[in-house]
């Protein structure tokens, strides 16, 4: 790579002048010199050495991003949103992928291992003088191993820290649960079965609260027998659909698309055609919900927006007292529920 020194020599000027011209300082040199310097720079395909500049300026214009695992379906979209915001605000995104699933598989009990990995990555980013760090989780849960004060703004995306430590940006699960339930109610459904995720899951708790809220607002009695718990798998959806159908549910609301697909399968096999004899809703807008038949109604997660918002937060670094920022999911109604309305 060509350096500023070479250009200076060729143009018979000092490095200072070259630097000034190339950085567009007004009146740094005569029009003639300016043209010459610019020409030589272009000819040598000159690009300023980023390290030298950053070292000198003591800052990097970089935002660090730590992902738990880039291959988990929602992470790339969040990262994309961060990337977009960074570009817009003139920052560079530095990605540190921890590859959790490769290191720990599904074993989320090894807190120490995760803490070590995470601490390393934070140090690594700090050594690169990042001006903010965004931690991208795989699913919404409390992250306990990030130090309180790390010297730069820190934000959680799609997860959250121990209360009050750092702000976080999440989707509004409760509102999503509320809106889907409301929609089903507006179609005339009164007995809406719910296939939750595991009981302790953040997503389960919030979406269920939303479900209950919608029932309450519509003066529908909450029946605990219509609420069952699965493990997010298609098989669980299949199995639990039976339980709910025995309760005479006319609509099923699964808390993710995979379970919704499983439930749809069970229904079809038992002469309940999804979208015709029973309404089905999923959540997440996974690829499968769009490609199965009928298409599964679902809620699109605001992943891009979460990423974008996180980047804005660390870049603008407004003193933000809210520790949770909730972004709305978008209801995406499709064949599995759209046209099956009940008359009262």
């Amino acid at each position: 790579m060509a350096t500023i020194k070479e250009i200076a020599k060729l143009a018979h000027v000092s490095t200072a002048t070259v630097s000034n011209v190339l950085n567009g300082k007004a009146g740094a040199a005569s029009a003639e010199k300016t043209a010459e310097i610019t020409a030589i720079a272009r000819q040598l395909n000159y690009t300023a050495n980023v390290f030298a500049r950053r070292l000198q300026q003591g800052k990097s214009d970089c935002i660090g991003v730590i992902t738990e695992d880039l291959t988990v379906f929602n992470t790339p979209y969040i990262v994309d949103g961060i990337d977009a915001a960074c570009k817009e605000y003139g920052y560079e995104m530095l990605l540190e992928n921890m590859r959790f699933f490769k290191h720990f598989d599904i074993d989320f009990s090894d807190v120490e291992g995760r803490r070590t990995l995470c601490t390393e990555r934070i140090s690594s980013l700090l050594a690169k003088q990042v001006e903010g760090i965004i931690y991208v989780g795989n699913h919404c849960r409390e992250i306990s191993y990030v130090p309180e004060d790390i010297g730069v703004p820190f934000v959680y995306a799609y997860c959250y820290g121990t209360k009050g430590s750092h702000p976080s940006v999440l989707m509004d699960d409760e509102n999503g649960g509320y809106e889907i339930t409301k929609r089903l109610i507006s179609h005339g459904h009164r007995t809406i079965g719910v296939i939750c995720g595991p009981f302790s899951s953040y997503h389960t708790q919030k979406r269920l609260t939303g479900y209950q809220g919608a029932l309450f607002d519509n003066r529908i009695f909450y029946n605990a027998k219509c609420v069952v718990y699965g493990d997010w798998s298609k098989e669980a959806g299949y199995r639990l659909a039976e339980t709910l159908c025995k309760q005479d549910c006319t609509a099923l609301f699964a808390f993710n698309d995979l379970m919704a697909v499983g439930a749809a399968d069970w229904c079809r096999e038992h002469n309940l055609v999804p979208g015709v004899d029973i309404a089905i809703f999923g959540f997440d807008d996974r690829e499968v919900s769009r490609y199965c038949t009928p298409q599964i109604s679902t809620a699109t997660l605001p992943l891009y927006d979460i990423g974008y918002m996180c980047a804005q937060l660390v870049i603008k670094h407004e003193e933000n007292t809210k520790d949770h920022i909730l972004l709305p999911c978008r209801i995406q109604e499709r064949g599995s529920s759209e046209f099956y309305h009940l008359k009262d």
Copy 2:
């Protein structure tokens, strides 16, 4: 951030000694001093300024990765493979995401726009002294806008450059087509319909060659009426399944999972149960193939391996004369074909 100078002052030694100790140079200081320096460094939470070090050493231990679009389904897995290899060899991965789909949507005709974007990213990486660049494409096709000589090793992942310019790592589409066809033949099928992608697609050409090869090796007559062309969409699969079933095909081989799912839908609706009355194979191992019913047989793409191999190529930088390295797909046979065997 603490600097080496502060540590030197506190430990009453020179910066050189601190540097040597912290970099683990044997016999750089007395055991006593070593301990003291280490302790102070830890206490100040010292991490060496990466820019200063890289500037001084004139190298970065970084590999640059340019992705066309990180949100396209296969890209994160390729990036994951690159990441893994980088970590293993002690390199850092620098990601430049061009966000093609955001910039050009599906319009792949704006070559100039793409060239500009790509050239910028290459310069940007070069300014960071990367020691190699990997270009990750969205689908296999010729990329025409990368300069021949960019000063560092350059490799294409999941796409390829103008002949002879830079090496590329791809999956073995032809072998995939061959193996799937062979598998169907071994189940007794003799009339195997093919739903290709667009005629000019690299994937179409290669997979079709594999298909023909398997037929030939098994002395089965190639019937052009059994080969139809779609646009990778589920709808195309649905539509073309009809054409092929009229040719009395006992098995359908779609060149991607989405078309396979569409084909399966058409068959089911016309009393041909996939996996029972007709065999169906897809390609890609997209999420949907695993979650539909029956599960669709398919071929898993060696995405991680492609990434890993690319990283190895640029890191080891062996003089590589082969311009295409092909990695095998893994046949994943499932319910849509597994048990439907024909007696001769």
